[in-house]
């Protein structure tokens, strides 16, 4: 066990995920359910917002994941560019669809929450707008993966796009802030979060976030396994075609 890169060997990756996934699935399902059930049914209603506040347990974790998944894709793309581990590129590809779904969940729950809070489903508020832009980036990234036939070329080009896209996503975030100071509250959860959110909301929120993270890890491993199998199939197909000549 010399280096951590051993884990990036496709065969090793398949072996350890095969053992880890059943456990991981059960654990993440439990944590996910506990977090949401605790959040939905065992917290008091907010004195101002009533029960609507509880959508918070879907909205905040999914929004956090939407951003962090892009970060994970950036890291995975860098690893692919520098070290050429196929598993890394495929993990980035697998993560994109999950990231896009998280962005959609954050947008939709935000809209549902926004109606009673601000009286509107949609407002061109910097945070909302940024998430819409993030959604566009996810769509573009996935579309590029789909469009390129050769898997290695696709991995290279999407990695470059992810790198450049990250810079422009940050720029957009800044530009959008500049363009419109919005009505969205500041981040509800940060290191000094206790100031914003009372403990009774805070603990289930932490569990819900942990649930979302575990859910993401489980899904990304599962999807990466699928992608590896798809790559093997592709390689077999190529081999047959070459030999058939």
């Amino acid at each position: 066990m010399a280096s951590i890169w051993e884990w990036a060997n496709p065969r090793k990756f398949m072996a350890w995920t095969d053992r880890a996934l059943p456990v991981l699935s059960v654990v993440s399902a439990c944590i996910f359910v506990i977090g949401l059930v605790w959040g939905f049914f065992f917290t008091p209603d907010d004195y101002r917002q009533g029960a609507t506040v509880k959508i918070f347990y879907l909205h905040v974790p999914s929004a956090m994941m939407a951003i962090n998944i892009w970060g994970m894709m950036l890291v995975a793309s860098l690893i692919w560019i520098v070290r050429r581990h196929h598993v890394s590129a495929l993990a980035a590809k697998s993560a994109a669809a999950i990231g896009m779904t998280m962005t959609l969940i954050a947008l939709v729950t935000g809209a549902i929450w926004g109606k009673p809070m601000w009286g509107t489903y949609w407002e061109w508020d910097p945070r909302l707008t940024s998430f819409l832009i993030l959604l566009l980036f996810y769509i573009g990234y996935m579309a590029l993966w789909e469009a390129i036939e050769n898997p290695d070329t696709a991995a290279d080009l999407t990695s470059v796009l992810c790198l450049v896209g990250s810079v422009f996503a940050l720029l957009s975030r800044y530009a959008v802030n500049f363009w419109n100071q919005g009505l969205h509250q500041g981040a509800s959860l940060s290191l000094d979060a206790q100031e914003n959110v009372a403990d009774v909301y805070w603990y289930p929120a932490l569990v819900a976030i942990a649930g979302f993270i575990l859910l993401f890890v489980t899904l990304v491993l599962l999807r990466t396994r699928t992608e590896i199998r798809a790559r093997r199939l592709h390689a077999l197909d190529m081999r047959e075609r070459v030999q058939g000549q």
């Binding site: 590029l144 290279d156 470059v160 450049v164 422009f168 957009s172 530009a175 500049f178 363009w179």
Partner: protein, 218 residues
């Protein structure tokens, strides 16, 4: 590299689409907007900066796929990649030629179209300045998008999907400068940001685009 620059300009002239196409598109777009939103001059005045910038963006996008696709199809790109000029230079020169044939005419035509949209008289100066500063970024970002999709079937549509989100910061700062300029507010910050984006795009994106082309030719 100077030769490549002149060749691209000559090609743009001879194929007839170079200057005319983007400009015509810009004109049509600006003409269509009042039909869509009504002839109320105050409303047009309010949305003019945004319309002009969005129009410039789309007009620029229209000719992007020609930057590399034609050279890819006739094999020139292979030959340029094996020629003794760096591919980064090829990208930069081609993006510059694209700007001169597309971006620069837009800058020159924008005031006339601003007139059609009742643009505030205080804003003309800023309209020209932001377009002059911002459109090179559009060409260089576009060249990057074109490099990513070179050699793909139906690359044009995909390229729009990739490039337009990258245009957002340039658009926001550009329209913001005009809006602030028209209102008599300070424009230094958005103008500096836009200049920064252009400088960064011109300096760095040719490297990313060249890397993408090398991968695509492989």
């Amino acid at each position: 590299m100077i030769r490549l620059f002149w060749r691209d300009l000559t090609l743009a002239f001879r194929s007839g689409g170079g200057f005319g196409l983007g400009l015509g598109f810009f004109l049509i777009l600006v003409t269509l907007v009042p039909f869509g939103v009504g002839p109320n001059s105050e409303r047009l005045m309010a949305i003019a900066p945004g319309i002009l910038w969005v129009g410039a963006l789309l007009a620029c996008l229209l000719s992007l796929d020609r930057i590399f696709a034609l050279d890819f199809e006739d094999g020139s790109l292979d030959l340029l990649a094996t020629a003794p000029i760096p591919l980064e230079g090829v990208v930069a020169v081609k993006a510059l030629a694209h700007w001169i044939t597309t971006g620069l005419p837009l800058v020159l035509a924008a005031p006339a179209l601003g007139f059609l949209l009742h643009l505030d008289s205080a804003a003309y100066r800023w309209l020209i300045i932001t377009l002059l500063i911002g459109t090179p970024a559009l060409s260089f970002i576009g060249a990057f998008g074109a490099a990513l999709t070179v050699g793909l079937k139906r690359g044009g549509l995909l390229m729009s999907l990739l490039v337009l989100p990258l245009y957002i910061p340039t658009l926001i700062f550009g329209a913001e400068v005009i809006r602030r300029g028209a209102g008599g507010f300070l424009v230094a910050t958005p103008l500096a940001m836009q200049a920064g984006i252009t400088a960064g795009s011109v300096a760095l994106l040719p490297f990313a685009a060249a890397a993408a082309i090398r991968v695509a030719l492989r």
